[in-house]
């Protein structure tokens, strides 16, 4: 999994999942059609027309695969609609100095890379973008390196199992189902004291 892309920047700290996709869109029973609802309340006027100055409405952003955001991205609710909306819009990675735990877990399950960088690298990248708004970054999950022309090569962290799943397309449920014997053994041995609800 590697890609090159321009960068879409929404430089706000603590972007919560209610901003990423407002709750009123969670009444859907499908995973589809959420890309247009991404950042809905920041993106559209009251009459539903797109706000021309909001970055996600630009053609450049629509073609971009990388979102650069502020600290603690994805805080708030556990809604997986957030990574669904981000990936359906076209993003494959979000770069931030930190991510909320549940958002991070949800993202990796949807082939959206939560890419954590230090404050220094975050600043360097923003400076580079100011100097050249058309800057592109290269992201390589295999080598865990991302870089931009004239910038440093940044090694990023990714959980080894999550990486394996991303690269090999492992179905995690299928993987756990292979542990059926262990699950059954656990239930048989330890259930009576640890779980009083089991029938």
């Amino acid at each position: 999994m590697k890609f090159e892309s321009t960068i879409t920047q929404i430089q706000t700290d603590n972007i919560d999942t209610d901003q990423i996709i407002p709750a009123r869109f969670l009444k859907t029973i499908s995973k589809e059609g959420l890309g247009d609802q991404l950042f809905f309340d920041w993106r559209y006027n009251a009459d539903g027309s797109p706000k021309p100055d909001f970055i996600l409405n630009s053609d450049k952003a629509k073609a971009s695969k990388v979102l650069l955001a502020g600290d603690n991205f994805g805080c708030g609710s556990s809604r997986e609609h957030a990574p669904w909306a981000l990936t359906q819009y076209g993003f494959q990675a979000v770069i931030s100095t930190s991510f909320a735990d549940i958002f991070k877990a949800n993202s990796l399950k949807n082939r959206l890379l939560p890419l954590v960088v230090s404050r220094e690298v975050h600043q360097q990248l923003r400076d580079a973008l100011t100097a050249n708004p058309d800057l592109t970054v290269n992201v390589n999950v295999e080598t865990q390196i991302f870089a931009w022309p004239g910038g440093p090569e940044i090694q990023f962290e990714i959980d080894a199992f999550a990486k394996h799943c991303l690269l090999a397309g492992v179905d995690e449920i299928g993987y756990v189902q292979q542990h059926e014997a262990q699950i059954a053994a656990y239930e048989a041995q330890r259930f009576s004291t640890l779980n009083t609800l089991a029938n």
Partner: protein
């Protein structure tokens, strides 16, 4: 002292490991899985696609709470999309054989309210739900955390999760709360102190004399908002109050089984000498009623305080966040929040919709009238709480004061069901999130305790309840 002292967090974790390997995160067994209509339909669709059943329907429990109206139950669900979602939950529960408190069930309510109320939540459990406020159940000494829809599907399919262990974080609250200061103020103070990302990667254990002094309902309020301080879970070791609360509830064991369960639960509290990865202390003696002014729960101040000034903040990004928040909230830096005019008061949500919360709001409203410019919604957390409140006449107090007394559900906490603010309106809300648009597009939320909410309802402005006690 045991040779290998462990925290309760570690003990619950250790008790649930099904398999461990170098190559993958631990496989953790889940004792109870609560399911609601919003985050589950895509997971059930996944099971159908795979052609598999729910592995442990007996350890799964469903309800509807988010999209459901709080108008009288004989009225239909008017929003067709919400009606479809609720109907889908019903279908899924039936098809997969999951116990279910449906819309018309006399015990329907917010998932985090009905779990404890029915004894589905028990000490030492692992408990999950496709909902970030699952942390609520930690009040019983359960390791309870929110998951996304992929993980909902995982638990339905396997009753397990692949998990990496979080860090432990002790939140010690010692001292005695003053009159007018509540459990809600403890947790809002924690959010203000460590910030909305302060507990990221961690599980809180709340300890200290002020926590021990709290009732079970108050403990739920505290644990509920662990996620607002960034932690995925927050728990409190069980004690006599926990057992007393649980005894006799519908799904707790009875007789000899109860004694066995209690004996197990008594092994759970953190051993003397166990250590935490992080810690923070809060002094209950000096706490005041808290209220948020901004657009995340970490932006909180004492009710006697003033709205912070971005000019005083050194970090440019933080300064910009604060400036943006104040612009959204249309508030002036440096001014007190007390006295700010409000339009709506919401008393409800999985944070503060239990009987003691309603009693506390009613104690302020009794014999008083809600300000004529303010709409007040009181939404009990479950139909059972509604009945209990009515049995002691609380609904009469609310109605006589001019407040609306509604049916159970999430309501204006998340504004999915038609209960919402209009753009620009201000609310004082006992819920847990003040994000932009959380209570309705363009709405502005001040989070506070039921006491503060009720006092503000009467005065029509943000009010220090201590002036009315």
């Amino acid at each position: 002292m045991p040779s290998n002292p462990r925290t309760i967090i570690q003990k619950v974790w250790d008790n649930h490991i099904v398999a461990e390997s170098e190559a993958a995160p631990a496989l953790l067994f889940i004792d109870m899985h609560l399911v609601h209509e919003v985050t589950s339909p895509q997971a059930f669709a996944g099971l159908r696609q795979r052609g598999i059943k729910v592995r442990r329907p007996d350890l799964t429990f469903a309800t509807v709470d988010h999209s459901t109206p709080t108008t009288p139950r004989n009225l239909p669900i008017l929003d067709p999309i919400a009606a479809t979602q609720v109907a889908q939950m019903e279908t899924n529960a039936q098809e997969f054989g999951i116990p279910y408190f449906g819309f018309q069930n006399r015990d329907q309510g917010i998932c985090h309210v009905i779990g404890p109320e029915n004894g589905l939540t028990q000490p030492g459990m692992t408990l999950v739900c496709g909902d970030s406020h699952t942390a609520t159940h930690g009040a019983f000494g359960a390791l309870a955390f929110g998951i996304g829809t992929s993980e909902v599907e995982m638990v339905l399919a396997t009753q397990c999760l692949l998990q990496k262990q979080s860090k432990s974080y002790e939140v010690r609250v010692d001292g005695t709360l003053k009159n007018g200061v509540t459990a809600k103020d403890i947790i809002l103070a924690l959010c203000a102190k460590i910030g909305i990302g302060g507990g990221t990667g961690c599980v809180f254990e709340f300890t200290g004399s002020a926590i021990r002094a709290l009732s079970m309902e108050e403990r739920m309020t505290v644990c509920n908002m662990s996620i607002e301080a960034g932690a995925r879970a927050g728990l409190i070791a069980p004690d006599e109050k926990t057992y007393e609360y649980l005894a006799g509830r519908r799904f707790v064991p009875k007789g000899e089984k109860w004694d066995e369960a209690v004996a197990h639960w008594k092994t759970l509290p953190t051993d003397e000498g166990a250590t935490y990865d992080h810690s923070v202390t809060i002094d209950a003696d000096t706490l005041e009623p808290m209220i948020t002014f901004g657009t995340n729960p970490g932006m909180g101040i004492a009710i006697t305080g003033t709205v912070p000034d971005p000019a005083n903040i050194a970090d440019p990004l933080e300064r910009e966040s604060l400036r943006k928040a104040l612009a959204y909230m249309a508030l002036e830096a440096g001014k007190p929040l007390a006295g700010q005019k409000i339009d709506v008061v919401f008393i409800g949500s999985c944070t503060n919709s239990r009987l003691s919360d309603l009693r506390s709001a009613a104690s302020v409203l009794k014999g008083r009238k809600v300000n004529s410019a303010v709409r007040v919604l009181v939404v009990p957390g479950s139909q059972e709480i509604k009945r209990q409140a009515e049995a002691e006449g609380l609904h009469d107090v609310f109605r006589a004061a001019g407040a609306e007394w509604r049916e159970a559900g999430c309501s204006m906490c998340i504004a999915m069901n038609g209960d919402q603010l209009s753009p620009g309106q201000y609310s004082v809300s006992t819920s847990n999130r003040n994000f932009e648009g959380r209570q309705g597009k363009g709405g502005r939320t001040f989070l506070a305790s039921p006491l503060t909410a009720a006092a503000s309802a009467v005065m029509g402005v943000v009010t220090d309840v201590r002036t009315m006690l």
